[in-house]
Subunit: 201 residues, 2 copies
């Protein structure tokens, strides 16, 4: 309990952020009050704008600023000509892929993965919308860039079955030894996968 | 660069917080957007209220919600009867002292320490105001609860000289071995101080 109710409320509110506990929240609150009030108000404005205005792109379900309008990536004519959709679990996966410049087609964001135990079925991750897009945009390949987890595997199998029924090619990004990694720093399962998916040289 | 300008701005703004770098900021932004939009707006409101409304108590310079009015601690009649002022460097020092229930008089917050190299002189830390209070409130003891640093020592000497001229008793909180600490976990300088300030048993 400090001398100011507003300060106590700020310290409590700051703890909504993952990784910020009571001690960090107190440090942040005093730091902003002592030295960065203008920047603190800037952060408040950025938070309000983001929470209020960021919505989903109706085509790829990525985050976008303009509600109802297609996002920057979806409205690119060049990307549409590729007839390839890359399916990811989360918007920040798109950031990672874009930073690697490894893909130039369109995206689709699941915002999660199929997880029957948590009551998350195919509809919750927007697979109806994905099916509609595959038909309408005459997609030729669906690339699954999903996490290498049990839920990622289940989701991949489900989408693969759906796409194969529609006679569309489905691929999944490779599992293996990372660049710069030596074999003895990689776990056994990853190494086993890299043997399974070995390729001609 | 994400697909949303507002999201990029939020990630940048979050980094004003000490201990929050680009990776944590991105994690926090996506977490709030994905799952805690209401709490995110609550944090924005708490920030705006705190940055706009928290001001200094005109008597002790601690943070307070009501501009121009004395804070809760200063307006306590019981505390005023003690005629003792505890001088601290920062508002959160008061929190620590109040939590320990070791002091029941009034406080004075310097918001820093004398540091000639940084251009911080006696006026910048409000020593004129402190002098006025010692006279007006007929203070009998000034307790210096300052950090055990070079700047803390300089500030302590300055305030001690000022109070002694006014024939007011000045004390400084003890340096020594913490409770529960064994002698070999404490640094040599602290141990030497604890010998200097040994007391009768």
């Amino acid at each position: 309990m400090s001398s100011s109710t507003l300060l106590d409320e700020l310290i409590r509110a700051l703890q909504v952020q993952p990784g910020v506990g009571p001690a960090s929240a107190s440090r942040i609150a005093y730091y902003l009050l002592d030295r960065k009030r203008k920047e603190g108000l800037g952060l408040a404005k950025a938070l309000t704008d983001a929470m209020d205005k960021i919505s989903y792109c109706p085509k790829c379900r990525n985050y976008t600023d303009n509600e109802g309008e297609e996002c920057k990536l979806c409205s690119s004519a060049q990307r549409a000509t590729q007839r390839t959709i890359c399916v990811v679990e989360h918007p920040n996966d798109i950031e990672a892929i874009e930073n690697s410049s490894s893909f130039k087609g369109s995206y689709f964001v699941l915002h999660g993965h199929i997880s029957p135990l948590d009551g998350i079925g195919p509809e919750a991750i927007g697979l109806d919308l994905l099916k509609g897009r595959i038909e309408k945009e005459h997609i030729q390949e669906v690339i699954l860039a999903l996490g290498q987890t049990v839920e990622g595997d289940v989701t991949a199998s489900y989408i693969a079955a759906m796409a194969k029924k529609m006679s569309v090619k489905v691929t999944r990004i490779a599992t293996g030894v990372p660049l710069g990694g030596s074999l003895n720093t990689v776990d056994g399962n990853t190494l086993a996968m890299s043997f399974n998916y070995r390729h001609d040289v």
